[in-house]
């Protein structure tokens, strides 16, 4: 039993700074503390550190400007995309025949659907990673608590809403437990919460150097711009026209190659976590330079 408590203690100690973790766990081992006492001591210290972190203004700013708004947007975008991909998966899985691979046209469609799903997942992961990094950079002491709020918003913001109202023909598929509940939760856990968690851990261990932070920010922004239409559709439940006026192009016909594809302003709003991370890393770099060697 003591071993299990020690395992919990080591897990909670992960919230502490590496040097403090080293010193505290070492002190407890030296004192011969049992697992329960060690766990209680570490939880007590972690709670104090957490409370201390919130005495500063930066976690509140990170919460209001990044965790909650980005959590909401990611929640809606991930649910919309999860539902779109779920329909593709359902159609292929339920109607699978070898013909999908044998026919060049059907194979092309299958590859296109797979590629689209991969790019959407990459956008979610990049966007979430920059959000996690922004949270960790903005407030070191309270990064795990802001991350928990972010995760809570991601999973709860869409509770009680549905995408079926926009696309009633999908209602039958999305009413099933797997495609309606398990699939979106799985996608969010894998491509939203997990990348953000990795980013928090990464920034906690060693803040990203400025060139890498800039490269990540630019990469995530390019992905968002590339998927501009899908992002707009995800956040307006498919009514992208409400945000971007359609442009039929020179031929005056919608749906042809010369149609205009203006970048939605929403995409620039979504770049905010990446820019916030970059601003924070830049500030740390300037402060380190001022402090000297």
């Amino acid at each position: 039993m003591s071993g299990a408590w020690w395992a919990v203690a080591h897990f909670v100690a992960g919230c502490l700074d590496p040097e403090e973790r080293e010193a505290v766990v070492g002190d407890l081992e030296e004192a011969g503390a049992n697992g329960f006492d060690a766990c209680r001591a570490i939880v007590g210290l972690a709670c104090r550190r957490l409370a201390q972190g919130w005495l500063h203004w930066s976690p509140w700013l990170a919460l209001a400007s990044v965790a909650v708004p980005a959590g909401f947007l990611l929640s809606f975008a991930s649910r919309w995309w999860a539902d779109q991909v779920a329909i593709d998966v359902f159609l292929y899985v339920e109607n699978w025949t070898g013909w999908y691979l044998a026919s060049p046209g059907a194979r092309g469609d299958l590859i296109a659907a797979g590629m689209r799903a991969c790019v959407l997942c990459a956008v979610l992961a990049a966007w979430s990673w920059t959000t996690g990094a922004a949270l960790a950079s903005a407030s070191r002491r309270a990064q795990w608590s802001t991350f928990i709020v972010f995760g809570f918003v991601v999973f709860s913001a869409t509770v009680g809403t549905t995408t079926s109202a926009r696309a009633p023909h999908n209602a039958m598929v999305l009413a099933t437990a797997f495609y309606g509940t398990v699939w979106p939760a799985l996608l969010r856990a894998t491509f939203v919460v997990l990348p953000a968690w990795f980013a928090v851990r990464r920034q906690r261990a060693a803040p990203l150097p400025w060139p890498q932070a800039a490269a990540v920010c630019v990469g995530a922004s390019l992905l968002l711009i590339r998927m501009n239409a899908a992002v707009g559709a995800a956040l307006t439940f498919g009514s992208n026209g409400a945000l971007v006026a359609p442009d039929a192009g020179l031929d005056g016909i919608f749906g042809t190659v010369d149609d205009g594809h203006p970048v939605s302003w929403v995409v620039f709003v979504l770049m905010w976590p990446g820019l916030a991370m970059l601003a924070s890393v830049t500030r740390q770099r300037v402060m380190a330079r001022r402090a000297g060697p």
């Binding site: 505290v24 070492g26 081992e29 001591a41 007590g44 709670c47």
Partner: protein
């Protein structure tokens, strides 16, 4: 520099331990002398506060086998810390003159 009671206890324990002052040793010293439990949370947050006030200096020391190969957080009282503790002690002594419990 105003000190709290626990801050004074920590400074005194660290000063008494000298080169052997680190988290677990300070905690043990306080518990033995005062007879009160000292939580690690209180100990480490107070260490940070004292360091921020420049009353102590801390650094990571060597690791020992009985600590599972983990390093100690070593503590040294600074000159400013010694002055603050001395001032606290003088205040308590001066203020306590003439009261029943001080003349026991």
């Amino acid at each position: 520099m105003a000190l709290g009671e626990f801050e004074y206890l920590m400074l005194t324990a660290a000063a008494r331990l000298g080169d052997d002052a680190y988290g677990a040793a300070i905690r043990q010293e306080i518990e033995q002398v005062t007879g009160r439990a000292c939580s690690l949370g209180a100990l480490y947050t107070t260490l940070d506060r004292l360091e921020k006030k420049a009353l102590i200096k801390t650094w990571m020391g060597e690791a020992t086998p009985q600590r599972g190969g983990r390093a100690k957080r070593m503590v040294r009282v600074t000159a400013k810390g010694a002055r603050a503790a001395s001032s606290f002690y003088d205040t308590v002594i001066r203020f306590s003159r003439g009261v029943a419990w001080a003349s026991k």
